[in-house]
């Protein structure tokens, strides 16, 4: 059940609701921050290039694309659903935006195209789930397969090279020494946080995720809101599509494979319940950072691929344990 811990002391809702929400989210995230610190110490101890500005910026840039996707997925999961299609919707948007036809219209149209395709795919998901009343797992799984097929069809299974200089510049530009992609990531996170925690849209998302029937009886248009959540997730995929097209210089149906697993894992590690109604955006982002730092550490230490896979699994379990303990002690 939805739970800003206002019921704990029975006090009036608004102010303590805010305070408690802040407290509990900080408590949950403290565990992850501890994990990140431990990883950082391991990094400094094992690799002399870990703490350099260049490496830290590389970590942030690597995290930026999956991070943007995770913002959208966080909203969907808090709202009680799940979105398995995010990786391939991003691929589809990247392919659609980098066809010869779209590129001929210039960078602005390419960006609009990616956003439209992403949001459109998300909206289709949302409508099927909300109004068609089909289970989200099935709908988004079908969307994943369809998006991949469509991406392969449009691209002819080839990598579509980005020839537009403005788009490629997105990945090479630095503002004050920080890559533009990191700024885009930060902006999406900031806007997402504000929407989730400071607007009625966010409040409704928590309510619907916690108890959809109660929300409906309270007068919320659950169906419309659910559809909007998936459209939002799709929009994030569209933004990520432009970012990955810039970063890799290509639009391809091979982008985004298994990204949904990384995003969902990051969201869960971040403390969001898979059943919905509770969660924090910062937690999800910390989860993304944990994964990206782990990958970076592996490469800096030149670990063999097999070792990397085993170690990643172990670290995930440890992170969740630390995180659950922190949550218990702060509740």
């Amino acid at each position: 059940m939805a739970e800003p811990a206002t019921l704990k002391n029975g006090a009036a809702h608004r102010r303590s609701g805010f305070g408690d929400l802040l407290d509990s989210s900080a408590g949950r995230n403290l565990g992850l921050v501890a994990v990140l610190l431990i990883l950082g110490i391991v990094g400094v101890a094992t690799a002399d290039t870990f703490l350099t500005t260049s490496n830290l910026l590389t970590i942030l840039t690597s995290a930026s694309i999956i991070g943007v996707i995770t913002v959208g997925v966080t909203f969907v999961i808090i709202g009680g659903g799940i979105d398995l299609s995010v990786g391939k919707v991003m691929a589809l948007a990247s392919v659609w935006a980098t066809t010869v036809a779209t590129q001929s219209y210039g960078p602005f149209v390419m960006i609009l195209c990616a956003l439209a395709v992403g949001a459109g795919a998300g909206l289709v998901n949302g409508l099927l789930i909300a109004y068609g009343r089909i289970v989200p797992f099935i709908v988004t799984l079908a969307a994943l397969i369809t998006a991949q097929g469509l991406a392969e069809q449009i691209s002819g299974r080839r990598s579509q090279i980005v020839t537009d200089q403005t788009i490629t510049a997105i990945a090479t530009t630095r503002v004050l020494g920080v890559p533009l992609l990191v700024f885009i990531f930060a902006a999406v996170v900031a806007i997402g946080w504000v929407v989730l925690n400071r607007t009625t849209f966010g409040r409704r998302t928590f309510a619907i995720g916690g108890n959809p029937e109660a929300a409906r009886l309270a007068g919320l248009n659950v169906k419309r809101h659910t559809a909007a959540l998936y459209a939002l997730s799709g929009l994030c995929c569209g933004i990520a599509a432009i970012m990955i097209a810039a970063l890799t210089n290509t639009g391809s149906s091979t982008h985004g494979t298994l990204y949904e697993l990384d995003a969902i894992a990051a969201v869960i590690i971040g403390g969001t319940l898979l059943s919905g109604g509770r969660g924090t955006l910062i937690g999800s982002i910390l989860g993304v950072l944990v994964f990206t730092v782990i990958t970076n550490l592996f490469v800096l230490n030149n670990l063999a691929t097999e070792v990397q896979n085993i170690a990643k699994g172990v670290i995930i379990v440890v992170a969740v344990l630390i995180q659950a303990r922190a949550r218990r002690s702060s509740a």
Partner: protein, 351 residues
């Protein structure tokens, strides 16, 4: 209320239809891909050029998620078109083993004159190859080898070990000539649990050891552009100074080069692999760190079709004395640099 809702609904609907129409206009890839990306075919030589008995050649390969595999399918089809006495019977490309088995079995039932198979996995499709051979259909095993020689009439494929050796030799010679002591040599491999990746890495390592060098940072991408970019971005952080880099595959090389550009690094030179047209154009332009590539050419599919025709018609290979096509043909890996790139560019495959 309902009136404004009706109008709103109409507006949304119109917006949706309009957006949909605009988006459909944006899916065309016409100019860049109107020609089947340069399929590479060869003409039969001498007596073998004369049309012989009419034969059907079945063809099965994995689904193309990779420029190299797409080129395999295109080359095979184009080569078959060259012959007036060949009917080409491709089945649906698939990455699923069970589906590939089922598809090839339909060809066996159809009793084609010869089969060209690039199996998703050589070990898992060995039984299928034997089934075809036992049914009297000669099998040309392309690239990924079956476990048993009884499963194929002729194997034709590239030299993965040789690719590594070519790359290692080029890098070793160039570094030796520049007089670099203790060079840092990086390696970006493909999918690590494939035998071909292991063979390439082994060839690379052994070739370098001939010069007294060894491989430094080595990481595996996954043959995708995004994987190449991600892994390379991290490897560049692991090695603040590199002297040379070998990337196993030119398709993932697009991402590798993107990462190098984004990190603004150029103190080293890079060697690619497989021989894509993009890579060759980069080598020709000579403006990036990519200076050479070692081939693993998808033209092997064209050659496989040519061999299938010869086997089905009971002919031998022209210049050889024997009347039979050899059981095993390993294609050499060529090293392409700026000096000879013009000659190889027509053979490059589009990513």
């Amino acid at each position: 209320m309902s009136e404004s809702l009706g109008r709103r609904g109409f507006l949304y609907g119109a917006l949706g239809v309009g957006a949909g129409a605009a988006l459909t206009a944006c899916t065309s890839n016409a100019p860049a891909q109107s020609a089947a990306p340069g399929a590479n075919v060869g003409a039969a030589a001498g007596d073998n050029a004369a049309p012989g008995k009419a034969v059907t050649i079945g063809f099965s390969a994995p689904a193309a998620d990779h420029g190299w595999i797409a080129a395999i399918a295109n080359n095979a089809a184009a080569q078959a078109k060259q012959y007036s006495d060949v009917t080409f019977e491709p089945v649906n490309p698939t990455n699923d083993i069970a589906q590939q088995i089922a598809a090839v079995q339909t060809l066996i039932t159809k009793k084609v004159s010869a089969l060209v198979i690039l199996p998703n996995d050589g070990s898992q499709l060995t039984a299928l190859g034997r089934q075809a051979m036992d049914a009297g259909i000669p099998v040309i095993n392309l690239d990924r080898i079956f476990d048993s020689p009884l499963a194929y009439r002729t194997w034709i494929g590239g030299d993965n070990y040789g690719m590594g050796v070519s790359a290692g030799t080029y890098i070793g010679e160039r570094l030796k000539a520049a007089g670099v002591a203790n060079p840092v040599i990086g390696e970006i491999a493909g999918i690590d649990n494939l035998p071909l990746t292991q063979q390439r890495s082994q060839g690379f390592k052994e070739a370098l050891s001939r010069f007294g060098y060894s491989v430094g940072p080595r990481q595996a991408a996954d043959f995708t552009v995004a994987g190449g970019q991600r892994v390379t971005a991290n490897v560049l952080q692991a090695a603040p100074k590199l002297d040379a880099l070998w990337n196993h595959d030119d398709d993932q090389g697009l991402g590798v080069l993107a990462a190098i550009t984004q990190a603004n690094r150029s103190e080293f030179f890079m060697v690619g692999g497989a021989g894509s047209a993009n890579a060759m154009r980069e080598i020709q332009k000579d403006t990036s760190v990519l200076k050479a590539t070692v081939t693993y050419s998808p033209t092997m599919a064209s050659s496989a079709i040519a061999l299938a025709r010869l086997v089905a018609q009971n002919k031998g290979m022209g210049d050889l004395v024997e009347h039979e096509v050899p059981s095993s043909i390993t294609l050499r890996s060529a090293t392409i640099t700026k000096d000879n790139v013009a000659e190889y560019l027509p053979l490059g495959f589009e990513s």
